[in-house]
Symmetry: C2
Amino acid sequence: MAQQHLDPTDPTARAVTGDALAGYLRGQATEFLRALRLHRETGGGQNGMEESVDAARALRHSARRISGSLHTFRPLLDADWSEAMRPELAWLSGTLALEHACAARLERLLLALHRLSGSAAFPAQSAASAVGGRVTGAGRGVPASASGRGTGPAAPSTATAERGNLTVGAAKAGALLERQLTLARTRAHSTALQALGSSRFHAVADKVAVLASEVPLTPAAGGADLRPLAAAAGERLNDAVAGLPLVTAGHPYNAEALIHGLSPDPAPHPQDGPWHQVRLLLRLHRYAGEVLHGDDPPLDVRLLAAGQALNLHRDASEAAAAAASAARTPRIAPATAYALGVLHADQRHEVEAARFAFQQSWQKRTVGTP
Amino acid sequence: MAQQHLDPTDPTARAVTGDALAGYLRGQATEFLRALRLHRETGGGQNGMEESVDAARALRHSARRISGSLHTFRPLLDADWSEAMRPELAWLSGTLALEHACAARLERLLLALHRLSGSAAFPAQSAASAVGGRVTGAGRGVPASASGRGTGPAAPSTATAERGNLTVGAAKAGALLERQLTLARTRAHSTALQALGSSRFHAVADKVAVLASEVPLTPAAGGADLRPLAAAAGERLNDAVAGLPLVTAGHPYNAEALIHGLSPDPAPHPQDGPWHQVRLLLRLHRYAGEVLHGDDPPLDVRLLAAGQALNLHRDASEAAAAAASAARTPRIAPATAYALGVLHADQRHEVEAARFAFQQSWQKRTVGTP
């Protein structure tokens, strides 16, 4: 974040102490509880309401921020409480993220199939974007809801009609992906609902409720300077970025992302790992900036762009893996497999494009003390 | 070509008249006859000698230059003679180019398959590069010759062993492509030999033999200035380049080349046509420069790079089409089709990369009077 706000040699710089951390955590805990209440009121996504989707997103949003702050400012917080809390928050946000991820992945892949078929008629809002919408006919290739954001009851599917614009192989590939990812999404939805009804979740929610009024700071934390810990988060990010192959990534069309594209390993490409790690460290760095700056964080456009590039990188990487995985379905037609191969390669090139975009955002900035 | 050499306002500029054109055509005709003699002495490629490959290349080289010069400087040459000569030279160079193109395409695709399999052990010279080598077992998947450049007799194939490094789908895709492109190459080889023994060819060769001593210039051509005609060739190139989507091409990862990647049309992508056209106009522009500058053409690195980018564009475009065509072979396994899909997309991205490279070479140059 902008160094001029935090120059340690600036005598007018606002003091940022453990009290600011406590305020941030109380605020995020309050957000969490508000989102939880909203989620319960809207039926936990059972009715396919947009509010329910937003509530789940807000729950993840605050869970990630609490967890990230516990990590970055660990020395200032009660160690036992912090160690017990973090894995539970990670479990919760991970569980809640899965349904959304499946829906977003399907939408990404169907849009790509239409693009690759030269089908200009595809609407921007596909059935697959009905995140949190009512899930019907899961596992039988029947899309969930025709409404873009689950704002209404399930209407007749447009996705099937849209496939009329696709070539035969692409249409079959789209149907296969829809079947597999809709099934995965339905399972993720059930898992999320079960999780939110579990005693494990109630224990987390109880702890967050306490956090909303009472933050377990260490005795010395109240007046302690947060900036060295926030700076350390920035340094961890810088170190991880320094380990990325940015010179290669900065050369357009370096063709690195598709190496091993025909490898038999069904796991995501190992080359993606360091980029995923940087994505997480960038998020921690951003949250640390939020703690320090409170309601008035400076806007760092490059950092935002870098984070968006890494989100794209993650999404394309997982979409490519889903296409490769679908191609291993037994007894598919060669034309279906061919379309999935083109789709896989297309998404791997999106991975490469995202690395290039990250390199472009990053090259002229250095992460200072947040 | 470099304007400073040809500034029409420069009173010291060397006069470039029809006599220079006559000298150039005589020289190219002599090269043609020399290559033809060498080709006959080496058995027309029947013995797989490197010299024979070189001779065929030299034949194409001079045939293209004669044909191109007849086109650019048409008003200075006997019209009937010129009109009769050009299609025959185009037929000849096209026929001779096909065998080399099949071999180069196979090599490109096999190298790509190895790259996509993460197989680093693949040698730079594959069996597929045995251009003009002895063709054995064509149509049955037996590669032509293990020697990289046809410099020796056919040795046991290494390509089959190399496929051991490929994953199952990639290996099958490689075998299928090898079978299809080796068959195409064998046919092209036979066609070329038949062409070189035909009365049609002998008629062309006779005309070229006359050209080597006697160039049919129009009466006024001897003292006429070549530069306006050469400049017109440069303008045709500039006009065609102006019609290319260079703004898009200059944005890395614009994903344009793979649009229609899943289109059912087996023909090459129509979007490639204008680029292929620019490639031909660039070649005419270059030949016109050779006519004007004789043995001392100025080196234009950007123009060379632009031409190489367009050659790559053509090669990748045709390789992508070959992969798509192979995927339509009946009864192939889904894993084979998947690998061909990845390969197709990979080559279409090479197409996109070549457009980017062309844009980069072109953006800072303007074609002046050659």
